[in-house]
């Protein structure tokens, strides 16, 4: 095999930098990519662009937090299967091994004509291509009675970290025989099986420490991801503990009162001890500020993950409206690789292959009881379309469920090293 073009350009630049031109000049001559958001989409995109361009592209990653807690596996922390430290990651390797300029700041404005990003700290970044991977924000007024000021009384815990710690502490402090309520979100939202894995993990903890406690779920949907698997698991592990109220039974008609700690479902008010409110979601706010949203999400072209509103901007993960893929860390990671390839192709002329995507979501229902659902996808001109899929079956034997759980642990190691190096 001959040396590929990308490698050749990279080597050429290195020679130029070391022999003649001042380093500063070489630095300025490199095309610039700014990535906003250091999660499964953004961190992966930054790493793949830096790695595969071998220094020929100047990559800046803007992420406000210094320690990133993965949303995936934060439910396992809730259930006592993981420590918080085990889902915490830093950006050190991306800076030291891959030469990525990691900026811990908030992006507060995007000027699409000037191609600049302004930061809360006062600085401005120029870009040739911008990648937005900001995750989700909540829709104002989605759950009557709840707003972001109430997130300490009624945590969402749908962005991992301090919210996860808070919710776990509240569950641990519940009185014997107390009530845990969840207000589940309407479609589409981050991590479709997430609320139900969380119910499983809360039930797991309560069964051990507080076996007479009750769990109520008010759900605006008539059905949910892996429903048969979760309901089978709840019956097997936590019989009589979980009361799921779907939209057919008024679960969508819900309001909360954080001061009184009450939840009103279809006119019936209940006093609860812990209330986990997961409101309706929308693209992270920076997408709205950039003017690339339509409704709550940012529409993208599946071939390249470019915004349909601006070809210099690629959008990844939960924030996008792309078609059939679920909003998951796995999806964002998969989309990031397609975007990274497209960006290199546009800026360096490297070869661009057809976009391929995949997703698998593992969920833990109880000890060693893991299930999964997944699919593969391809880009059409209209959307990212599902090609093929599979789901765990009800009634699988314990050995297979244990293998599935162990597989999810392996996947966690795989994806986090794929994101953070």
């Amino acid at each position: 095999m001959t040396i590929n073009r990308r490698g050749f350009i990279g080597a050429g630049l290195a020679v130029t930098a070391s022999l003649s031109a001042p380093a500063v000049f070489a630095q300025n001559a490199r095309p610039k990519v700014v990535v906003i958001g250091g999660g499964a989409g953004g961190a992966t995109a930054a790493r793949y662009i830096a790695k595969d361009s071998k220094g020929a592209i100047d990559v800046t990653l803007v992420e406000p937090t210094r320690t990133y807690y993965t949303c995936f596996f934060s439910n396992l922390y809730m259930g006592g299967f993981r420590t918080l430290e085990s889902i915490a990651h830093s950006y050190g390797t991306l800076a030291s091994e891959y030469g990525i300029n990691v900026v811990h700041d908030w992006a507060v404005g995007i000027d699409r004509d000037a191609r600049t990003v302004s930061l809360a700290g006062g600085n401005t970044l120029n870009y040739d291509r911008l990648i937005l991977s900001p995750g989700i924000d909540f829709v104002d007024g989605a759950v009557p009675g709840w707003d972001i000021n109430a997130q300490n009384a009624m945590p969402h815990a749908y962005k991992a970290g301090s919210q996860s710690e808070l919710l776990k502490a509240q569950i641990e402090a519940m009185p014997q025989g107390g009530t845990f309520a969840m207000v589940a979100p309407p479609n589409p939202y981050r991590c479709p099986p997430g609320p139900y894995e969380r119910v499983s993990m809360v039930a797991h903890m309560l069964k051990r420490d507080n076996p007479t406690a009750k769990i109520i779920v008010a759900d605006p949907k008539p059905k949910f991801s892996k429903m048969a698997l979760f309901q089978e698991g709840w019956a097997n592990h936590y019989e009589g503990m979980v009361d799921w109220i779907g939209s057919d039974f008024g679960g969508g008609n819900v309001s909360v009162n954080p001061d009184a700690m009450t939840v009103t479902i279809d006119g019936e008010e209940t006093k609860v001890d812990v209330c986990n409110v997961i409101p309706a979601m929308k693209a992270g706010r920076i997408c709205e500020m950039a003017g690339i949203t339509e409704g709550n999400w940012a529409p993208v072209n599946g071939h390249t993950m470019q915004s349909r509103m601006d070809e210099n901007i690629h959008v990844l993960g939960d924030a996008t409206n792309q078609g059939d893929m679920p909003k998951s860390g796995f999806s964002a990671n998969s989309q990031a690789k397609v975007a990274a390839m497209a960006v290199r192709g546009a800026l360096l002329g490297s070869k661009v292959f057809p976009a391929k995507f995949s997703n698998t979501c593992w969920s833990l229902i109880g000890t060693d009881d893991g299930v999964k659902v997944g699919a593969t996808y391809a880009a059409t001109d209209e959307k990212i379309a599902k090609v093929d899929g599979f789901i765990s079956a009800t009634g699988e034997d314990a050995a297979l469920r244990k293998t599935t759980y162990e597989e999810s642990i392996g996947w966690y190691e795989g994806i986090t090293s794929d994101m953070f190096g």
Partner: protein, 237 residues
């Protein structure tokens, strides 16, 4: 195919003893199989009072789930394959004997495989006489739709494009760690190219059991599998 179908019909009508003989003949020659088994007997005992040695004993191997014989310490890969649903029947044993690592990558059985289909048939006919109740051997159905990982020389001759493989590999590394870590999910780095190609085709043809891998391999073209093998092969150099 026709022959196996006839046997199925026969099984439905005739008394068990007669069927057992008929079916055994259809697998191969157990007498010739006894001689071929000498390649196996250094590690695997079979017959009355057989015990586990380097490998597990093979009494009752037909119909047993892979990695499921109690008391024997299997490789991680073999245990996983069993949990994923691999059951030893004529079809799977035949594929395993042809190329053990094509079916179970990390198997500890260091055996090059029996390349001749007749040799495999004969040794399996011999082993089959040591499975408890021949009438219950779940071989009739699988043999009726027998398929193996027999790759044509054309497929094996495809020269993969490692640059394409590198892009495709990014789909693998979401789960499989690129540094070779293998907790929960097997390692896929440092594989000889041909083993990689054979294994991926075994998933594509649904001979290997894992649903995620069947799906992932199922949509890879022959060229894409070659590209991945080339990329991972180059990693090893």
């Amino acid at each position: 195919m026709t022959r196996f179908f006839a046997l199925l019909v026969a099984a439905a009508i005739l008394p068990w003893a007669a069927v057992a003989e008929e079916t055994a003949d259809a697998i191969g020659d157990p007498t010739r199989g006894t001689k071929i088994y000498s390649k196996c007997s250094g590690c695997h005992l079979v017959g009355p009072n057989a015990t586990d040695r380097i490998g597990p004993h093979l009494n009752g191997i037909f119909g047993r789930a892979a990695g499921a014989h109690e008391g024997y310490r299997y490789s991680k890969s073999m245990t996983r394959a069993g949990n994923d649903g691999l059951v030893w029947d004529l079809e799977t044993l035949d594929a395993y004997l042809e190329n053990p690592r094509a079916l179970v990558s990390g198997t500890r059985m260091s055996f090059r495989g029996l390349k001749q289909a007749q040799d495999r048939a004969d040794v399996l006919a011999y082993l089959r006489t040591y499975s408890d109740n021949p009438a219950n051997i779940p071989e009739a159905e699988p043999t009726a739709r027998k398929h193996e990982v027999e790759l044509t020389p054309e497929i094996l001759a495809i020269v993969g494009d490692p640059e394409y493989g590198e892009y495709l590999s990014s789909e693998c590394t979401t789960c499989h760690q690129s540094d070779g870590g293998d907790d929960g999910i097997p390692s896929i780095v440092y594989w000889p190219e041909e083993d990689f190609v054979v294994a991926m085709h075994a998933y594509k043809r649904k001979l290997r059991p894992h649903p995620v891998m069947q799906m992932m391999a199922g949509r890879l073209s022959d060229e894409e599998i070659a590209a991945l093998a080339a990329y991972f092969g180059r990693l090893a150099n």
